[in-house]
Symmetry: C2
DNA sequence: AGCATGCCTGACCGATCGGTCAGAGCCTGA
DNA sequence: TCAGGCTCTGACCGATCGGTCAGGCATGCT
C-alpha cells in the first residue's frame, strides 16, 4: 500500500462522511469506516487522533460558513435579519447536505464536544434572526419549524439538484415567515428591534 | 420490594420514555433505565422481552393514532387531504411530543424493526396528502419541511402548553402550504387525485 | 550498506452493550 | 406447613466499541 498521506487521509474523510450521513455518528464504528476505505481500523486512528477529531475535521467547512453567516447577522433587525437568515441558511443547508445529515438527531450530544461548543449559540441566534428578533411565540415556533425542516429536507432530498432545491426552500420560507414590521395591525414604527 | 406487576412495569415504561427523549434510543442503555427506576437491569428484562419490545410498547399509542389518521386520509384529495393531514398531524405531534422526540434522528434505523414496519409508508402517505397529492417538487419539499419541522419543534418546545403550540403550528402550516386547486393558473378541475 | 522516517497493520486492552440464568425472597392457596 | 408461582437480583456471557502499541515494510538520505 503506502499511499501518499493526503490520499488516504482524504479517503477516510470521504468514507466517514458517507457512513455518518446514513447511520449517524454514534451508529458508525471506526471499523465500518475502515472497511469502506479498505484499510485497518488502526490506520484510521493513525490519520486522526480519535473519532471526535475525525468528525470535527469533517464538519469544519460547514461550521466556517455558519460562522460567517452569524457575523453577517450581527446588528441586523426586523425583515433585514429575516431575509439574510433565510437566504444564508438555505444556501448553507443545500450546500452542506451531508454534514447536516450527520448532525441530524444527534445534535444535543454532539454539541457537548469542544469542537462544536459555539454551534448551539449560533443556531440560537440564527433562529432568533429568522423570527425577526420578535419574542412572539408564534414567530419563534415558525423559525424553529423552518430551520429544522430545512435541515431534514436537505438531508433527505439527496437526488434533487442544488439549483432546484434552493429556490423551492427559499420561497417556502418567505411565504411561511410573517414579516415583523410590515403587515401588522400596529403602525409601522421602527422601535421593534431587540430590546 | 416485590411491587405489583403493573406498577413496576409502568415505572420502567415512564423512565424509558424520559431517557429515550433526551439521549435517544441508541444512546440509552438498559442500565440507565434501571438506574432511573431504582431496580436492576435484569428486572427491566423481566418485564420486557428485550429493548426493542420496550420501545414498541412505548410507541404503541402514538402509532395507533397515526394509523387512525392514515385511515381518515384514504380517498381524500386536494385541499381536503391537505387540511385533514395538517390538523391530524399537528394534533398528533403536540400530544405525543415525547414519542416524537424518541424517533427524531433515529428514524431510518428504527424503522427496520418489525414493530415499525409500516410507519415509513404511513408517513410517506401523510406527506403526500399534505402536498395535496401534487407531484410538483415545490409542494413535496414544503410538505417534508413542515412535517419534519413540526416534529422537531414539538420535541424541543416541551415547556409550551398544548393549547398554545397547536394553533401556532396550524396557522403556520396553513400559511406555508399552497392549496393545490385554488389559486393556480389552471381551471379548478377535480382530476388531480392520485394517479 | 546502514539508518531514519513515514505509512500501515494485527494483536490486544478495558469498558460497555444487550441478554441469560440460577436462585433468593415473598405471598398465596391448599 | 408446605408447595408453587411471581417478582426481582447478582453474576455472568459473547459481542462490539474506541483506543493503544510494538513492529513490519517500504522509501529515501548519507
Amino acid at each position: 500500500m503506502a499511499r501518499a498521506v493526503s490520499e488516504t487521509h482524504g479517503e477516510i474523510l470521504a468514507a466517514a462522511a458517507r457512513r455518518f450521513a446514513v447511520t449517524g455518528y454514534r451508529g458508525t464504528s471506526l471499523q465500518d469506516i475502515a472497511g469502506e476505505v479498505g484499510c485497518s481500523k488502526a490506520t484510521v486512528l493513525y490519520h486522526f487522533a480519535n473519532k471526535e477529531a475525525l468528525l470535527a475535521e469533517l464538519m469544519a467547512p460547514a461550521i466556517g460558513v455558519l460562522r460567517d453567516l452569524d457575523d453577517q447577522l450581527t446588528g441586523l433587525t426586523g425583515t433585514a435579519a429575516q431575509e439574510v437568515a433565510a437566504q444564508g441558511f438555505v444556501d448553507l443547508a443545500v450546500r452542506f447536505r451531508r454534514e447536516i445529515a450527520v448532525l441530524r438527531g444527534e445534535f444535543p450530544e454532539l454539541l457537548c464536544q469542544p469542537a462544536f461548543a459555539h454551534i448551539q449559540q449560533i443556531s440560537d441566534r440564527l433562529r432568533d434572526a429568522l423570527a425577526g428578533h420578535s419574542d412572539r411565540p408564534a414567530a419563534r415556533i415558525a423559525a424553529l419549524v423552518l430551520l429544522a425542516g430545512i435541515s431534514e429536507a436537505c438531508a433527505e432530498f439527496v437526488d434533487i439538484p442544488d439549483d432546484e432545491l434552493r429556490p423551492a426552500l427559499l420561497t417556502l420560507v418567505r411565504r411561511a415567515v410573517e414579516p415583523v414590521d410590515a403587515p401588522l395591525p400596529q403602525p409601522p414604527t421602527t422601535e421593534d428591534k431587540d430590546s
